[in-house]
Amino acid sequence: MAKSKIRSPVSRLEGLWQPSILLTALVFSIPVLTIASFLLHPSGDIWQHLVDTVLADYLLNSVLLMTGVGLGTFSMGVTCAWLTSLCQFPGKKFFIWTLLLPLAMPAYIIAYTYTGMFDFAGPVQTQIRDWTGWEYGDYFFPEIRSLGGAIAMLSLVLYPYVYLLARAAFIEQSICVIEVSRTLGCSVWASFYRVALPLARPAIVAGLSLALMETLADYGTVSYFGIGVFTTGIFRTWFGLGDSAAAAKLAAILLLFVFSLVVIERWSRQRAQYHHTTNRYSQLPVYRLTGARALIACVACALPLIFGFILPAFQLSLWAIDTYAVMIDSSFFKLVLHTILLGVSTALLAVLLALFMVYGRRVLASKLVYASIRVVAIGYAVPGTIIAVGVIIPLTWFDNTLDSYMREHFDVSTGLLLSGSLFALMFAYLVRFLAVSIQSVESGLVKIKPSMDEAARSLGRKSADILFNVHLPLMKGSVLTALLIVFVDVMKELPATLILRPFNFNTLAVRAFELASDERLADSSTAALMIVVVGLLPVILLSKSIASSRAGS
């Protein structure tokens, strides 16, 4: 039979297409390759010093943080997913989509909001002292700026990853397997533990890996709480000790952690396809909960929502009402302008590059192109800190080489041409977020079957004509989604921006973090709230697509 490969006998550009995709993939792999090469790099004195003093702490803290966040996101995510997919209780429809809202809340923002609320001078403890007359040391109150606090903060905003994938897996399970288990004598809970949970395991593992990747990537929370993990260590080594090689070596070890998560995640996703038991969607088996059980279900879903979104958003709003009049001035508008400028231009570039690569894959149908897209797609897992270090090392080398060459031959100094520029920053963003736009664009392109191109050709239309009249209208939705998601991700990104931004160039995220670090929590709220509100847009899109994707209900 005919292969569904699209061959265009006319285009001469196709010869250039494949090499330029491979080159693009290579360029965007440079930061990760640079860091990876430091695994083999000879160790210096500072590195030895790090090994002797802090490395064990970094490792221990990272493992503890991951374990804690793993447990936290698992328990919240799976519980809420189970309740909102297979049980019926009042408010279920509301919870299905509102449980995603914490995705809009960057971890560093929730961290300092909670600090403002719950530390010694915050309103909660002050109120307790007022009521009881206790003084400092008279009572126990959990310390929010601790490892435990960081675990709580990260779990509260990262559980939606587990929730999303677990819920999708529960929904995909056929009614049959669960009913069969009931006929074989399993109780509701037994059929959950023995059938539903094992079937959803690959999806849950994939969700957990995503949450843990974000945990490893986090810089804002752990740095604000003063916890020594890899990301904070890289910053300290880079700026405090001024040793880029040692910082890169730390980054390389972190990269090993990240890659194992990537492997686990991709492997689980493949397995999740095999676990897909049926294509027939019947009405889901709904356990109708009443009375006390319904109340417990409601509370179980309400808690992550309240603590992950409503409470911090409420606190931010209170602060913002107090301070916005002072905070919103001309410099604030400049912040907004910078943020939009960076976000929009990165989003546009990311989508153009994604179109270029994904289209190439479709037209060229080449395994090499497919592989290079997969390589670029790893970027989403790599922490911004690693990418920043991986960008700045080769760019500095390039700048210095160019500068000395120009001095030698033309007596001109080019200085630091690229490394301190917006170019470096946007390049780092693209390394990290290209995967996001590729995924979104790909999902649009699969809707355009190869036979549609052929139909248009048989009706006398040329390639460019087909692009504008068939592909573009069909791709519009997913291209806009890609733009939006990349924009929001760039807006929220903190560590790479902190390291790579040009001198005196601030974004909302950086400003919010700086103000919070200076203990000006209330002042930071306007910028933070803005990030959260804009961050809600893709979450709403996501919840809409979830609502419409469920067949048969």
């Binding site: 005919a2 549609m452 052929e454 009706l459 209208p473």
Partner: protein, 349 residues
């Protein structure tokens, strides 16, 4: 006589694998041709080569006497003046039915374009659905839109790739006849690719039976059934069995069921051993006949029964009997031969 489509010694290769091996056929203007064959025989590749989606490795293709494909040339699809209906219809989901039909009429003056769209909507019985979107239509309606869209620019040649494969079996023949009426009304030269012989019989004027990249026989449906040129065609078209026979004279062969008269190729010598094709309708159920056989199996098909019979020698034949002759399995019934078309093959080992 002018041919609208000529395919001469066409060879197509995917990498090292030769999909089409020296395919040749031609189609007269306003005729409907069909390429019939099992899946994987290369029939879709023939269509895609005619459309210009697959380059020719050897041979050439002429549409309306213009060479469009050869080993060193491949005219772009959009310049070939063809229309094509795809297996999955490939309707544009973002356009209404009317806009889908209008898609190929870009260069037409607005007024004529509008008239043509209306004409096709009327012809296909879709007038009420001009503003509907493809996903709102049933499978049969989408099929009609695909037909209207492909015919709109008045292509010199219409290509249809398994256009009924996604339809219910009951609907296929009815739709095939509807499509035939529309094609004849518009005087369109068309070529259909299918694996379903009933579709081919219902739609086509002439049929090429393909197997493993070759054309086995090119003929009318009637002749393919009654005068297959080889065992593949005999087996692929209709049902039947092949039984041993001996040449008896210049115009008859001897089988276990008696002599069969018919035209024989002149080179056959008397006494030579051959095989004979016996169709179920060649075996007549006759209670008075001296030849008998045992009913091994039977299938009820409404108006008639298809009996699977075993004769005393162990040879099995099929017999088509009217439905009121309801015999039990293991019953012995009388049969006789009544062969209109004698089909003989060399004895196989």
């Amino acid at each position: 006589m002018t041919f609208q489509l000529e395919v001469e010694n066409l060879v197509v290769r995917y990498d090292d694998y030769q999909v089409l091996n020296q395919i040749s056929f031609a189609l007269e203007s306003a005729k409907i041709g069909c390429i019939l064959g099992p899946s994987g025989c290369g029939k879709t590749t023939v269509l895609r080569a005619i459309a210009g989606f697959e380059p020719a490795f050897g041979g050439r293709i002429l549409i309306d006497q213009i060479e469009v494909s050869s080993s060193h040339y491949c005219m772009a699809t959009e310049r070939r003046n063809i229309g094509m209906i795809f297996q999955d219809f490939a309707l544009f989901p973002h356009l209404t039915v009317a806009d889908n039909i209008r898609f190929g009429l870009k260069s037409w003056p607005a007024k004529e374009r509008q008239e043509r769209v209306q004409e096709l909507l009327a012809m296909t019985g879709m007038l009420a659905y001009g503003q509907a979107y493809p996903h709102q239509l049933s499978g049969g309606q989408q099929q009609r839109v695909a037909l209207a869209r492909a015919m709109a620019p008045r292509p010199g040649l219409l290509l249809m790739d398994e256009p009924f494969s996604s339809m219910d079996v009951d609907l296929r023949e009815q739709l095939a006849r509807e499509v035939r009426d529309i094609l004849k009304q518009e005087n369109i030269t068309a070529i259909l690719v299918t694996h379903d012989q009933h579709e081919a019989f219902a739609l086509a004027d002439e049929i090429c039976v393909m197997n493993e990249g070759r054309i086995e026989q090119r003929d009318s449906g009637y002749n393919l059934y009654h005068q297959p040129v080889n065992r593949f065609v005999a087996d692929f078209i209709g049902q039947g069995v092949i039984i041993p026979a001996t040449i008896e004279s210049r115009n008859s062969v001897r089988t276990e069921l008696g002599s069969i008269e018919g035209k024989l190729p002149p080179q056959r010598e008397k006494g030579a051993l051959v095989d004979v094709l016996i169709r179920p309708d060649d075996v007549i159920h006759d209670d008075d006949s001296s030849e008998t056989a045992i009913v091994v199996d039977k299938s009820f098909r409404g108006a008639d029964f298809l009996y699977f019979l075993r004769m005393d020698s162990g040879i099995e034949v099929m017999c088509l009997a009217p439905s009121h002759h309801n015999h039990k399995i293991n019953e012995r019934i009388g049969i006789r031969l009544d062969v209109d078309h004698l089909v003989i093959f060399d004895r196989s080992n």
